[in-house]
Symmetry: C2
Subunit: 326 residues, 2 copies
């Protein structure tokens, strides 16, 4: 939610001479992304997003997710496509920082997602999983089960200051998940952060998936579980089975979930809830004084975790029992 | 440099039904304006800026400057034009705030203005002054000579903490300006804040003047003086007479400065320097702890003031002596 680096018009115009995307007409710093500087550019050939990667982003991961977007866009997934400069590079240096340009996708993210949006995201997620199957690069998920205990260690000492008993609740859940985390489910490229603000719609029609810096190789059904948590709860914290059904059925029509994936879904959803509970908790406990950006509420995910702990079968997600077509 | 208010896509799409500017395709909060929330919108009819006015903006002044932009744009000045809704209003309410839509102007503000940019701004400023002559609304300038002493009173006690002797220097200058401020120069609509970041160019060609919230009725030549200070100093604080000549000559070709305006210009430039010195000083002394926005340097304008105090005639601005065509 901040532009950290300004770029002079003269410097940017010069940079764009290395690309074949037209003459620069305008650019505005946009209030998106907490860690990077993003600009919406208009050129004589259209609209683009310019991103300058600030220091917290590992430059080593840029080839993975920029190539991934190119790969997915080439297979019909509606996602931004990185522009290549005349040297064929998807990123180079501007204002002393790694910089990349992607095409701008029209669309708005739904502040109040409905069942049609959930169906859209289920369908797009499945198609993204299929399109990613022959993507050659590999990036392990630093925020999968092995990454949770280090986060817990950072937050444990002060967790109870956020909610009494939170520390023990997390410790118990972590132990359970470490013990039971599935090792034999289909893996592939996952988005890993497909929240509503990363999915654009025009009306009820999905127009794009954005924001791939968490993309990695992990259990495909774990990505579905992240979406169940992110899309199917109401503002009053209740779980909306109609939305879950829409999401899972749309996913299943494009990529059928196997029996073991279906069986694992409640456990994966617990893991997905714990992962966001932990990162939010760490952020919440480390907000710099005077920060303008309000940290996201970790307790939202503590509640979601409790819901997922109570899920016994896919019936609780509003869909047909195992054995039937999901 | 911040978006204070988020607007839901659904709410914005509904709001736009009151306008005839097409279907909403996207909108992004942009990092411009410290006091308002600004969004760059794409619709099926083009690009627009949506502004939500936050509490520090006096709603009473909105009709003045929105009508002014409409008036000026109607007379060929390249400035944003407010969109009228189906009720004919140039602003109404969105997300509980006064909200207006203007068309988006392509162009970039020059981070390193050259003489051609200065000529462009001189020409555009003169044409704006001419186009404003039959604008019927009146708004006094709260930041003209009568407004400076109250600002000084706010800052005086701590001025010397910024630079030793600053308090006395300002007090002396203020007394001088209050005594000698001209009362008989041509007045009209002035922009009053025409800094480089409010003037867009495509290459060396001026494509638009933006940001009119300081616009008011005041001495026309005072607007020229503000621009001399804002455009003609180099980063090393030296005054660039080539740029000043380009600015003043271009202005004079479109609207000839009278003999008394020419004579008053050095004094007006002292006033213009003091005005920005004072507002920056007050801001500088009142930065909230942890603010992300770095306050502008008041001492830049203390230096400019000292330069203007030494100006004896228009020769010091690089142009012909009084009597010749400027």
């Amino acid at each position: 939610m901040a532009v950290y680096t300004d770029v002079a018009a003269e410097e940017l115009a010069e940079f764009l001479k290395g690309y074949d995307i037209g003459e620069l007409l305008s650019y505005k710093g946009i209030a998106e992304g907490v860690e990077n500087s993003n600009f919406l550019m208009h050129t004589s050939q259209g609209a683009f997003i310019l991103t300058l990667y600030e220091k917290r982003v590992a430059v080593d991961d840029l080839p993975y997710f920029l190539s991934l977007m190119a790969h997915l866009a080439g297979r019909g997934v509606r996602c931004p496509q990185p522009a290549r400069n005349r040297k064929g590079q998807v990123y180079s240096t501007l204002a002393g920082r790694p910089a990349a340009i992607i095409n701008f996708l029209e669309g708005m993210w739904p502040r109040r997602p409905n069942a049609a949006h959930c169906a859209g995201v289920g369908d797009a997620l499945a198609k993204m999983h299929l399109a990613g199957q022959d993507f050659p690069l590999v990036r392990n998920n630093p925020l999968s089960v092995a990454g949770w205990r280090p986060l817990f260690d950072l937050a444990a000492g002060r967790a109870d200051s956020v909610q009494a008993g939170l520390r023990d609740a997390i410790a118990r859940e972590l132990e359970h998940l470490e013990k039971h985390w599935p090792l034999d489910l289909p893996v592939g490229v996952i988005h890993a952060d497909l929240f509503p603000d990363n999915v654009f719609f025009l009306g009820d029609k999905l127009s794009g998936l954005i924001d791939f810096p968490f993309a990695c190789n992990d259990i495909l059904a774990y990505d579905v579980a992240i979406c169940l948590n992110a899309w199917c709860f109401e503002p009053d914290h209740s779980f909306n089975v109609t939305k879950a059904r829409a999401l899972l059925n749309a996913y299943g029509r494009a990529r059928k979930l196997s029996q073991s994936e279906q069986d694992a879904l409640p456990l994966l959803a617990r893991g997905a809830a714990l992962r966001f509970l932990l990162t939010r908790l760490v952020d919440f406990l480390n907000v710099p004084a005077g920060a303008l950006v309000k940290p996201k509420d970790p307790l939202e995910y503590a509640r979601k975790l409790r819901f997922q702990q109570g899920v016994k079968s896919l019936r609780d997600y509003g869909i047909a029992p195992p054995g039937c077509v999901v």
